[in-house]
């Protein structure tokens, strides 16, 4: 009897039949990345429109959240690595063909304007908080940070340089924030072995979703009536775009090969159907859209409700995409 030994990639644990490598940490990181990209986008965009004084929350106060959540996201990302002591090697390599490399570099690049931006408005932020919410416990921390910065040797000089070229930097940051937002989707869509992820629409979809969560957060934090109203309109528009992208994601997959159709079936009758359509599309997009339309037509809606729903919808969307994407595969082969 002759023995035939097969060595197959199909025997790899955690890779077949389902990828089980990425968990909730990645989903959370993608959420933070998208949110930070959106916050920076709005801050720089409205700064360039000359609305720094009329929209203080979006230009001056909210961007301080961006570097904090980027740092938080990067920290949990490093924690997720198997050999986390080697994470710094990512910053010694440039790989044009790897979206992860692009992402690491974009993240590092955008950190500089993100931190300097919020530092340049630290005094305005303190003033804003003292006027609107004098009991806020963060004020003491910000005042301490502000005094510390003035004592540091090089930083005041950098700040002068930053403020002098603010306009140019704002243009650059807008560009970087869009790259960051798209990257959170491209990171997934570069996996050509996971048909659910491997769609070009994922980049713009994640960007739109991230910007929409940022709009919801600013809307929630802002005290200014006209600023809120504006973000309500922006959010409605973004929700419409998101729904358009979601429909086209499925249309594209259903007209693709068998693996793509199978991937789409995860959401169209498969195990993720109820969660996706009820929680993400229903509670995370349609209900807040209805509430915002009602608000714009004069009903009184506590802004926290649609904002919270949009943020939760965005977070869940990333969770479900990370998990469902790993469950999809070329199972037919």
């Amino acid at each position: 009897m002759e023995e035939v030994l097969y060595v197959s990639g199909k025997a790899l644990p955690h890779i077949t039949p389902h990828l089980e490598v990425w968990g909730s940490v990645i989903a959370l990181y993608l959420f933070f990345g998208g949110l930070a990209a959106g916050l920076l986008f709005f801050a720089n965009f409205f700064y360039l429109k000359g609305k720094a004084d009329s929209m203080p929350m979006s230009v001056k106060v909210a961007p301080i959240i961006a570097p904090i959540i980027i740092i938080l996201g990067s920290m949990i990302l490093v924690y997720d690595l198997h050999h986390w002591m080697y994470f710094w090697q990512l910053f010694l390599h440039v790989r044009m063909e790897s979206p992860m490399s692009w992402g690491a570099w974009t993240l590092s690049a955008i950190m500089i304007p993100a931190i300097l931006w919020s530092l340049s408005y630290l005094e305005d932020t303190i003033e804003y908080l003292q006027n609107r919410n004098p009991k806020c416990k963060l004020i003491g921390l910000f005042i301490w940070a502000n005094n510390l910065i003035k004592k540091l040797p090089v930083l005041p000089w950098i700040m002068v340089l930053f403020n002098k070229n603010k306009k140019l930097i704002a243009y650059l940051t807008i560009y970087l924030s869009i790259v960051l937002g798209v990257y959170t989707g491209i990171l997934l869509s570069a996996f050509n072995a996971r048909p659910l992820w491997n769609s070009a629409i994922l980049g713009p979809l994640f960007l739109t979703s991230g910007v929409s969560t940022a709009a919801a957060l600013i809307m929630w934090l802002s005290n200014d009536h006209s600023e809120r109203k504006m973000y309500s309109k922006i959010d409605l528009f973004l929700i419409a775009v998101e729904l358009f992208f979601i429909i086209h994601l499925f249309m594209g997959m259903l007209s693709g090969g068998v693996a793509q159709v199978e991937a789409a079936q995860l959401f169209l009758g498969g195990p993720y159907t109820a969660m996706f359509w009820v929680l993400i599309v229903g509670m995370g997009l349609v209900v807040p859209a209805i509430l915002e339309i009602m608000e714009l037509s004069g009903f009184h809606i506590p802004i926290g409700i649609p904002a919270f729903l949009i943020l939760m919808g965005g977070l869940l969307f990333r969770f479900i995409m990370v998990y469902a994407g790993q469950a999809s595969g070329f199972n037919i082969l």
Partner: protein, 172 residues
Amino acid sequence: MERSKTYMNSYLAGILIGVFMIGAYYFSGEGLGASGALKAVVVTAVNDVNHEYAKEAHFFKARVQNEEESPIKSWLIFEILGVIAGAIISAAIAGRLKFEIGKGPNISSRTRLIFALIGGIFFGVGSQLGRGCTSGMVMSGMGVLSLSGFIGLIAIFGGGYIIAYFFRKLWL
């Protein structure tokens, strides 16, 4: 009584609930319920934390036997999500959508919340002993002429009337 103008006529609302009940039985094969949704959440949480325990324990056993399907995937969960969304929208239409703690004039919010929690725990335990709450046992039960539904009605509302006397200070 100015505010009552913004509430729906209670007789109309009752008829609508009945109509929804027929719809619920027709489409899902189950009635309406509220405590069942909470139970599904509890069962799912326990099952995720310790599946071995949930498989053995009497209270969880029946729900976690099918390992393919998560116990959270229950019609009542989706019903409750719809109730939340619908409540927000209808309160907004009536102009009453705001964050507040409904309480009597002579007690603090803190007292109200503590008593609400105690009452909630009692009702939660009671609803599991009685196999359903006001909506799950009384309404859905009476809808199919189940005897337990009628007994539950007398027990819940009769008990409520009697006990209310002792706690009237919370509301007066």
